[in-house]
Symmetry: C2
Subunit: 422 residues, 2 copies
């Protein structure tokens, strides 16, 4: 059995490597044609997709998945149309390949250029939502990478159909169908074997819960770009415009509490007035947010900060309507708190003190640092990157939202006329 | 004992992390002052350095190290002056921090900038040559990173002195002395413990033999940028200018055979004339290069290609005056050979067929691809990057020669005036 998984993994990996060799030199219009062909196939075969999806939904209901999870799995006409639109947006993006990142001609006439090229083969492991399947395929075609897709077993019927539809479309556009391969098997052992194929696979991107990501990272012999969690902070100074601060904190926490760029900890400066703090906290309480505070915040706003925060709270990504609240004594204590408890995702300062704002923006070592803006803006779409394959909380290679350009590496192209080194 | 190593590693790592927090925001002039202060200390304490180095040399001779290795260890007045010059060059480089990589203001007035920032803490593990100690310290100060230096035990006396001299200079310039820490202990177990400190250390760079690099990669829980080997290829077409091709192949192989960008395999196109090939191979033979060939090359040039190449030869980095030679049937077979046997370092095509040159440059998936130039140009200095901390054969983050700018990551800086997401 072990041998079989190893052999199947080898086949997936070698087919991908082989496809990547021709994909690397495929012109932009051919890659765009392939992406658009997937979009078209989604629309023309929409009824078929909904039928396959119905099998997943039925299994999900029977296995007792929460209704929220079942809803994430669902593909209806509207969602399929939105997947097609996502692909068309990707096809219309500027091609990330061939960008000249640096260029110069030496005094001896040797011409040097640092040029963006594909990574090669990406292994993408994700959970649940089947729309991610087409997004990931589109972004990899855009960036000239072959991709091996491994979705969650809850979505296996939908994904198998999407996988074959994508490969058909890619082939129809004149590329190797193995540019996009969906792993049809659901065995975990196969994933492990694929994570060992560092000769053929260049990058692993796991997208899902922290457990999935830690398991992939522990097992992989291939570089992994990962996203553990977002413990985002807002730090409110006494000089902040209270109306704006209230709106920003409220938006950061409640606009979509279940996502990684939602606010998890509110740091209120001691210089903030009791009335100012009350206004901010009141808006949160009204929105149904449970406020867990340190001693000082509970003393200052006893009717609002009603739950005592434990040590664990400062390191918790709630992903629901709970917020930890702490009173801090100045910017340095806020920076210390973020350095000790942050996850390097997104932090925002609400202040009108320009010197403190600049110091906060320079000192916070997070992928997004903001002033007087909602943490919810930390997103590839909002930043203008187009669709994103994920958000990296790593610092190597890519940090923050990752678009098609982040799936590229570069090479040095050197043109001589008989140049030798002396 | 295990506990002790673990505790010592924790201390090194935490001190580095702490130092990195202030170094990250240290202005360029302060970092430059620190680099220049090291250069000055090298010169004023040159006699002391030579004395410490003498202990290493003595131990090296006694332990029977080859005279080439002993020579690599040696620090004399000239080499110390060259280390100081290297530092002054680094201090005069454009600061890599704060570079704005992308920037735009949204229609709603939200301002976005993607800005270069330090990685944080670098753990640099290297062998033998003590001059690497000051280069690495200089590049990390230039890029605002704290560094933990772990040199080879052959150079421990030299390195301990250099380490304390560097820390003194850094402190004298107004930075924390722990911005640069040299690991004074020679225990391997301590290295292993440091490789597990992913909370404090952001990047590991091993520089040395393949054994060292594989051991570090296997043990590390921190991202590693590595350089395994350089199996560089030259592919000569029939259309090549034979004079130039002869000079380039000769230069690529013999100018400095022991380095990673030296030529290891020569692919001669079947269209190349017997006389053309003879001229190229004759120059190599005259320079004392042993030519190991496939059947066809031995048949074509029996007096020059005198040794039969085995399967293993195509995957061997000789690092000496040996070259494998193969006759290939056209560009595609050359590309296949390189894809199967190359290490992704550097390949060059010698040709006057512009279409083939372009196809070669586009299709070869190596960090440097060249036309009509010597592979020996694949080097940070030659590319104008200044001093390099190493050469990466990885594709993630940095590829090819790595300078100070490659020790940076970036962050998104977002400036609003009360912006919330709708």
């Amino acid at each position: 059995m072990e041998t079989t998984h190893s052999q199947i993994a080898e086949q997936y990996a070698k087919r991908a490597r082989h496809a990547a060799r021709s994909l690397r030199v495929a012109p932009a219009p051919v890659r765009e044609k392939a992406i658009l062909a997937i979009a078209e196939a989604l629309e023309t075969r929409s009824a078929e997709i909904e039928l396959a999806n119905a099998s997943d939904l039925e299994a999900a209901v029977q296995s007792g998945l929460s209704s929220a999870m079942v809803d994430r799995l669902r593909l209806d006409g509207k969602r399929i149309a939105s997947m097609a639109k996502g692909l068309r947006d990707i096809a219309s993006q500027t091609d990330p390949l061939g960008r000249v990142l640096e260029e110069h001609t030496r005094a001896d006439g040797l011409r040097l250029a640092k040029v963006a090229v594909p990574l090669g083969v990406v292994f993408f492991i994700y959970e649940s939502r089947p729309n991610v399947t087409t997004d990931a395929a589109g972004l990899c075609l855009r960036s000239g990478n072959a991709i091996i897709l491994r979705g969650g077993k809850e979505a296996i019927h939908s994904n198998r159909l999407l996988g074959s539809l994508i490969s058909d479309a890619v082939e129809g556009a004149g590329l190797a169908r193995e540019c996009v391969q969906l792993v049809a098997e659901t065995d975990r052992a196969l994933v492990t074997e694929l994570l060992h194929r560092s000769t053929e696979i260049d990058l692993v991107i796991p997208r899902g819960g922290e457990g999935l990501i830690r398991a992939v990272t522990a097992e992989s012999r291939i570089p992994v770009i990962k996203h553990y969690k977002g413990i985002c902070h807002a730090y409110v100074q006494g000089s902040a415009d209270i109306e704006r601060a209230t709106a920003i904190v409220h938006n950061s926490k409640t606009q979509r509490p279940g996502v990684c760029n939602a606010l998890e900890t509110l740091l209120l400066d001691r210089s903030l007035s009791i009335e100012g703090g009350r206004k901010i906290l009141q808006a949160l309480q009204t929105a149904g947010v449970e406020l867990r505070g340190d001693r000082e915040s509970r003393e200052r706003w006893p009717d609002l900060v009603t739950v005592e925060a434990t040590d664990e709270d400062w390191d918790t990504e709630y992903l629901e309507l709970i917020l930890s609240v702490r009173v801090v004594d100045g910017l340095d204590q806020a920076l210390d708190h973020i350095a000790d408890h942050g996850s390097g995702h997104t932090e925002t300062i609400l202040s009108s003190d320009q010197a403190d704002i600049e110091r906060f923006l320079a000192s916070c070592d997070s992928s997004s640092v903001m002033a007087n803006a909602s943490t919810r803006f930390a997103d590839g779409g909002e930043y203008g990157l187009g669709a994103e394959i994920g958000i990296s909380t790593d610092k190597l290679h890519a940090r923050g939202p990752m678009g098609a350009a982040d799936l590229c590496t570069y090479k040095w192209v050197v043109r001589g006329t008989g140049h030798v080194r002396s």
